[in-house]
Symmetry: C2
Subunit: 552 residues, 2 copies
C-alpha cells in the first residue's frame, strides 16, 4: 500500500519536513494547514517542491466546524471553503479533510449535517476536489466513525466520503468491526496513529501523546486489516501529534514513522523471527569489571569469553565499562537480518545497530553444554535510552526483534524519575530505561541465597536496614535476605529474589531468582536500590575529591 | 500557624531533604515512608538529625490498605501496624497517616471500617500514637472527606481523627464547606497541595502534577480559612508529588514551598500592593537596539531614558540586547518591598529579584505628562523562564506582585512547544514563557495601522502571505493589514491587532492595539510568528556563515 505522513507529525519548517519525509521514502504527504500558513513558500511552490521530491500531496487538512450550522454561518463557512478550494488548486491537492464540528453553534441534526455536507461536496466537485468527513472523538454531535458514515450515506454525493482515523476510533473504545460495513470506495482516507493507554481527556491525549503504530497499545494491524477488507485502496497515512516528535530530529522521526508503516503493511517484509535466548552480552571492560565477573563465578580460557551456565559475557578492550552489544539466539539468523534490514536497521553481516547504538548480533542456538556454576543464564539486559528516542526504541525492539512490549513504568529516583519499559519474548527480556546512565545485566540462578553466600560482600550493593524492617512488617521471610542484601517482591504468579553488585563504569550486575511464574522485574524495589546506588556514587566522588580512593 | 512539608515534595536523599527543609525555615516535616526506607539513616538517627535541625516530625506516612478487610487480612494488617508503631517510636513521630483502602479486598462497610480503625487506634494509643484517617480521592469505598469523618465519628476513639488533604477534596469537586462541621480537635492533620486543572485520571493527576499553593487553580485560601474556623490548630503541611520538583534543586524547591505557605497563612505579611502600571523596562543595549528604539519613535535627552507616550525604556551599557529589569508603579513602593521581603524575595533598596533573574523596581506613579507619539504605553512584557522554574515563577509573580494567573497555554513552534502563561493586574501584564530564548516588550498604540505606516519596513518581521490568505477566508478585513505585516485576532470581547519588529540579541518589540475588551495576547498567531522568527534567524546564521551579513 502507498505510504503517507501528515506534516504535523515531525519537526521543522514545511520545507524541512517535506525533505525529511521524502528522504524517509514516503510516497505521499498530508499538508497540515498550520504548516502551510507559517511557510514562506506559496501553495504553488509547495506543489513544485513536493513534485521535485517525488511526493504526492494526498490530503489538505483540517477544515473545521463546517456542518450542521445555522444559515448565516453556513454562508460564511461556504465562503471560507471556497477560499480553501482555490488554495488547494494551487497546491495540487484534491482531497480535503473536514472534521466533525466541535463548535457550540453546531446543531444536533444529522439531516442538516448531511444537507450542508452535500452542498460542500457539490462546491468541491466544481474544483475537482473531494471531501473526507472525519468524526473527531470529541466532536460535538458526531464523535463516532459509524455516525460520520451514516451522515455521508444520507448526503449521498460522489465527492463526499469518510476519513477514518485509528486514534479517533480506538481511543473511544469503538469496535472497528463496523469498518467492514463501509464500501471501500467511500473510505476516502485512512489516518493512523497509535497511543499509550492513558486515562485522560481524549483531546489532550490526542494532541500530545499520539505515537507511531507499534509504539503504543492500540491494535492497529487488526484495524488496518478491516480497512483493507472493506476495499480501501488509498494510502496508509500517519497523523501523529506528539510533544517529543515536535522537538526531535525530523529525518530520524520520519524514518521511524516509515519503519512503523513497513512493519504494519508491507507484505514483502520477512516474517518475525522470535529470539529463543541470549547468546551473549558484550562489554567494554577494565580490570575492575574483569575482577567482578570473575568473582561472580565466570571462567574464561581466553580472557575474552567468560562463561557460567548458559550465560556468556564477552569482555573486550580496556576502557570505562559499558555494555556495547548483545547476541540473540534464534532459528534463522539470516532471516532475522533480512527482516531488520527491511525495517531500516543499519546492518553489517549478522549484526544490526539499535537506535541507542547497541549492536545486536543474530546467532544460532549455542550447542555446547552449559558450564557449571550457580548462574544459569542471562535473565534480562537493561539498556539506557535518550529520552527523545524512547518510543523509537520501543518500536525497534518490538518490530525488528519481535519482543512484546509491557506498559511503561515511572520509578521514583532520589533525583528524578526513571522511566522503564520491559520488552520480552520469554526467555529474552530487554528493559529500556530513560533517566539513568547505568546499564545492567541480570543473571538468573536457581538458588540466590546459596549463590549470594559465595560472593565477596564488598562487591554487593549495600541495602539499608530500613528496607528490611519494612519487609518484616509485610512478610515473614528468611532473615538471611537482610544479611545478604537480597531484595524481595511477589506478584499473583510467584516470587522474586534479587540482589545487586556494585557499579563499575556504567555497568552493574543483578542476580535474580524467579520462583513460580513471577513476571516482573522487582520495580517496587527500584527506588531503594537507586538511592543506594546514588549514595555509593556520591561517596566515591567524595573520596575521589579527597584523594582517598576506597578499595573498590 | 506552624509550617511543615512532606519529604516527598522535594528531591534528594532523606538527609539532603531534611537539610533543605530546615534551611527554608519550616517548623516541621512529614516523613514519607519511601524516603526512610531508601535512607541509610536509622529511624533514631533521623530523629536526632531532625532535632539538630530544629524540625519537629509531624507525621509518618502513608499506611495503606488497612481498614474494612476480612479477618485474616486484619490480623496481618495489625501485625504490620505494630511494626510501624515501634518504628515511629524510634523515629519520634506520634501521628500516622492511614489512607482509605484502595485494595479490591476492601469491603463496602462503614461499620467494619469503623470497627477496625477503632482497633488500630487502640493499638496505636498503647504506643502514644494517634491515627489520621484520610479519604483518598480514588479510595475504593471511601473517597470523600465527609465519608472519612463519618467513619471516624462511628469509631469514636480518642486516638483516631481525620487528615484533610486539599487535593483529595478539591480534585473531586467536593464542597469544602463541610469542613466546618468537623470539630477542630478531630482534624488531626492538614495537607496542602494545589494543582493545575487537568481533565485526567485523578490518581495520575495527583502523583505527577500537584504543586504548591498558589501555583495551580484551586482556591486554597478558602479551604484553609474553613479549616481554621473549624478550630484546627495543627500545622499547614505541604504534600506535593510533582515530576519537576523531583528533579529540581531541593533547597530552591523548599524555599518556594515556604513562600507558598507564607503567602497563604502568615498574617504578619504586609498586604498585597497591586501595581498600577509599568514605570519602565530596562535593557542591555547595543547600537542595533538603540536604532530600533529610535525608529519606533522613542526620544531621549540623555541617551539612556527613551520615552514615548507613557512608555519608558532604559537602555544601558553596550552588549547583546536583553531585558534585565522592569519598573512597576504602585501606591506604596516601600510596602511592596516589605511584602516581597517577607515572601523571601532577595531585595536591595526598592528593587527585588525574580526567580528568572529579572530585577523588579517598585516606583511611585510617574507624574510628568506623556511624551507625544503613537505609542501610548507598555502593554505587556514577556519573560523567558527555565522550564524547571515555571511554577516557581508563577507563584512569585502572583504572590509578590499581586498578578492574577491565567491558564497555561501550549503553543506549537516549528522545533517544539512554547509554554506560555499570562499574569496580570490590568494594566500590568507579564507573560512567562518556557521554550524560547526571546524576550519581548509589547507596546500599546491607539491606531496600529497609522503607526505601522511610519515604521521602516526592514525593521518589521515579515509574515508569510499564506497567513493573510487564511485571514481572508475567515474575515473581511482591511487589506492594508497584509501590506503592513499586522496580525489579527478576535475574542468574545473585542479585537486585537499586533505586529512584530525584528529581533536584536534576545529582544524584539511587539506593537499592539486592543479594540473593545479583547483580553488575550494573540496566541493563535504565535505559531506563524515563531516560524517567521526562526526563519529569519536561520537566514542570518547562514549569511553569517557565508561572511555575508545582511543590512540588519
Amino acid at each position: 500500500m502507498r505510504t503517507s505522513i501528515a506534516t504535523v507529525s515531525i519537526s521543522g519548517t514545511l520545507a524541512e519536513k517535506l525533505t525529511a519525509i521524502a528522504a524517509a521514502g514516503f510516497d505521499g504527504v498530508e499538508i497540515f494547514e498550520n504548516d502551510l500558513l507559517a511557510s514562506p513558500m506559496s501553495p504553488s511552490e509547495v506543489r513544485l517542491r513536493a513534485a521535485d521530491l517525488g511526493l504526492t500531496i494526498e490530503l489538505y487538512q483540517p477544515f473545521r466546524d463546517f456542518e450542521a450550522v445555522p444559515p448565516d454561518l453556513l454562508a460564511a463557512n461556504l465562503r471560507r471553503a471556497g477560499h480553501k478550494f482555490r488554495l488547494m488548486e494551487r497546491l495540487g491537492a484534491n482531497l480535503l479533510l473536514v472534521c466533525s464540528n466541535v463548535s457550540p453553534a453546531a446543531i444536533a441534526s444529522d439531516e442538516l449535517a448531511a444537507d450542508q455536507l452535500r452542498q460542500l461536496a457539490s462546491l468541491a466537485g466544481e474544483h475537482g476536489i473531494r471531501i473526507a468527513y472525519e468524526a473527531l472523538a470529541w466532536g460535538r454531535h458526531v464523535d463516532d466513525y459509524l455516525h460520520s458514515w451514516r451522515i455521508v450515506q444520507q448526503a449521498d454525493h460522489p465527492a463526499l466520503g469518510v476519513c477514518l482515523d485509528s486514534f479517533h476510533i480506538l481511543s473511544r473504545g469503538s469496535d472497528p468491526i463496523g469498518i467492514e460495513a463501509i464500501p471501500g470506495e467511500k473510505i476516502f482516507f485512512l489516518q493512523l496513529a497509535d497511543a499509550p493507554l492513558l486515562a485522560m481527556d481524549v483531546l489532550q491525549w490526542s494532541r500530545h501523546y499520539r505515537c507511531f503504530p507499534g509504539q503504543g497499545m492500540f491494535d492497529l494491524p487488526d484495524l488496518v486489516a478491516r480497512v483493507v477488507r472493506a476495499g480501501y485502496t488509498g494510502p496508509l497515512s500517519l497523523e501523529v501529534f506528539n510533544d517529543v516528535f515536535r522537538q526531535a530530529d525530523a529525518g530520524r522521526t520520519a524514518r521511524d514513522g516509515m519503519r512503523s508503516l513497513i512493519a504494519l503493511g508491507d507484505s514483502s517484509v520477512p516474517p518475525q523471527v522470535v529470539p529463543t535466548g541470549f547468546a551473549f552480552a558484550e562489554l567494554t571492560a577494565d580490570d575492575r569489571l574483569r575482577d567482578l565477573v570473575r568473582s561472580l563465578g565466570f571462567v574464561s580460557t581466553d580472557g575474552q569469553l567468560w562463561e557460567q551456565g548458559d550465560a556468556r559475557l564477552v569482555l573486550r578492550g580496556n576502557g570505562d565499562p559499558a555494555l556495547t552489544a548483545i547476541g540473540l539466539e534464534g532459528p534463522d539468523p539470516e532471516e532475522s537480518v533480512r527482516r531488520a534490514e527491511s525495517l531500516l536497521a543499519p546492518s553489517e553481516q549478522n549484526t544490526i545497530t539499535a537506535p541507542d547504538g547497541t549492536r545486536i548480533t543474530f546467532c544460532r542456538p549455542h550447542e555446547a553444554p552449559p558450564i557449571s556454576g550457580n548462574i544459569t543464564r542471562i535473565d534480562h539486559v537493561a539498556l539506557t535510552q535518550p529520552w527523545h528516542h524512547y518510543d523509537e526504541a520501543a518500536l525497534f525492539y518490538r518490530t525488528v526483534l519481535a519482543l512484546g512490549p509491557q506498559q511503561s513504568l515511572d520509578v521514583p529516583d532520589p533525583y528524578g524519575l526513571l522511566r522503564s519499559r520491559a520488552m520480552h519474548a520469554s526467555p529474552v527480556r530487554i528493559v529500556l530505561n530513560v533517566g539513568v546512565r547505568w546499564q545492567h545485566i541480570a543473571l538468573a540462578c536457581d538458588d540466590l541465597l546459596a549463590t549470594a553466600r559465595t560472593l565477596p560482600p564488598d562487591l554487593l550493593l549495600s541495602i539499608p536496614p530500613n528496607y528490611y524492617d519494612d519487609l518484616d512488617a509485610r512478610y515473614d521471610l528468611d532473615p538471611e535476605l537482610r544479611a545478604l542484601g537480597i531484595m524481595y517482591d511477589r506478584d499473583d504468579h510467584g516470587e522474586f529474589l534479587h540482589l545487586y553488585t556494585i557499579t563499575v563504569g556504567r555497568v552493574f550486575f543483578e542476580l535474580v531468582q524467579r520462583i513460580g511464574g513471577y513476571r516482573g522485574y522487582g520495580a517496587v524495589n527500584a527506588p531503594v536500590r537507586l538511592a543506594a546506588q546514588h549514595a555509593r556514587e556520591a561517596q566515591h566522588a567524595q573520596h575521589a575529591r579527597e584523594g582517598n580512593a576506597p578499595a573498590q
